[in-house]
């Protein structure tokens, strides 16, 4: 079996970056949007967090409880909040559930369920972690762009650029 260790390490780095962003962004930042129909920063971060549970609900529902505990009656894909602590809790819970689900499916050899036939990592369940990594990076890029468009100072943007240091360690 292929070794998932590099992806697990990448996923841990990704989690640290999401935490770094939550530390850096102010309440004003969280409310920003492009005014042209795009998501606000808070909506993007919420979407990133909820996407873990959203996929697990289809692929491996026994691992979804910790994220559903946060969303309550709101469907996972519709959940969003401006509460930074709740976003952080969702990312943390989703990350832990994703790793547990991947590990369980690697151990059992059972592929993730695919009830909609959209593809759920049949080649290797560990690729779900990569999916979350690239999905988060996609939206962090959009958050940085939004901050720049709305007048973030060069100093703030430089500080966010420090995110890249983590990937080079």
């Amino acid at each position: 079996m292929t070794d998932p260790a590099p992806l697990l390490e990448g996923f841990r780095r990704n989690a640290r970056l999401n935490s770094f962003f939550l530390d850096e962004l102010t309440d004003v930042d969280l409310a920003l949007s492009d005014g042209q129909g795009g998501m606000t920063v808070a909506q993007m971060l919420s979407h990133m967090g909820a996407s873990r549970g959203g996929w697990l609900a289809e692929m491996s529902p026994e691992f979804v409880a910790s994220t559903v505990a946060i969303t309550g009656d709101t469907p996972l894909w519709q959940w969003h909040t401006t509460d930074r602590a709740a976003i952080r809790a969702m990312l943390d819970a989703g990350d832990e559930a994703a790793v547990q689900a991947v590990q369980a499916h690697l151990d059992s050899g059972e592929p993730f369920a695919d009830p909609r036939g959209v593809g759920t990592f049949p080649s290797n369940p560990a690729l779900f972690l990569l999916y979350m990594i690239v999905h988060d990076a996609n939206h962090r890029g959009q958050i940085v762009a939004l901050l720049r468009q709305t007048g973030a100072t060069p100093e703030r943007l430089d500080r966010l650029e420090e995110q890249w240091d983590l990937w080079r360690t």
């Binding site: 292929t2 992806l7 560990a126 890029g141 940085v144 990937w167």
Partner: protein, 173 residues
């Protein structure tokens, strides 16, 4: 030694996503920008493709050489990137050959046990050369997100944007 299987698979998927995006862009979209000093779509693509050669030049110079034209020099007097003046719709080769050079560099350094050079003492991939591949994938994803935003703000309809989302399926195979 680090098992590169999943990372190499990841990089190949990333390459397919880049190809998908390059194929989906309309000529008039290369010049889109946020109108507030941000990079254009063409500049972002060039920055993404140039990431490979830029880092390789500092961390594993011999592996950068296939991407360079030694007969031309850049502003620093270093060999010029072969795609430095190519049109944005000609950057596919820069991505493909850049990926190949990155893989070659990582495999060579993993096999020899020699870490990448670290010219600024910032710990450049010292824990494992393999992280260069993960960094490349994340960097591309970050900037693809920005390109998608520019396309949406540039007038693509919701249906067209939904069509662009098809590339996520490549990651779910």
């Amino acid at each position: 030694m680090t098992d590169l299987t999943l990372l190499l698979d990841s990089l190949r998927r990333n390459a397919r996503v880049n190809t998908f995006l390059l194929g989906a862009l309309k000529p008039e979209e290369y010049d889109l920008s946020d109108g507030k000093g941000g990079q254009t779509v063409a500049q972002i693509l060039r920055h993404m493709a140039g990431f490979r050669v830029g880092w390789l030049w500092h961390i594993s110079r011999e592996d950068a050489l296939p991407l360079l034209d030694p007969t031309q020099k850049d502003a620093d007097g270093d060999p010029q990137w072969r795609w430095h003046d190519r049109a944005p719709n000609e950057l596919q080769g820069a991505f493909t050959e850049g990926d190949a050079a990155a893989v070659q560099a990582v495999q060579t350094h993993l096999a020899s046990g020699e870490p990448f050079a670290d010219p600024w003492n910032e710990g450049t991939y010292q824990s494992s050369p393999a992280h260069f591949l993960q960094h490349t994938i994340v960097h591309d994803s970050h900037h693809r997100g920005q390109i998608l935003t520019l396309l949406r703000e540039g007038g693509r309809s919701k249906e067209e944007m939904d069509g662009l989302d098809d590339f996520w399926a490549i990651w779910r195979e």
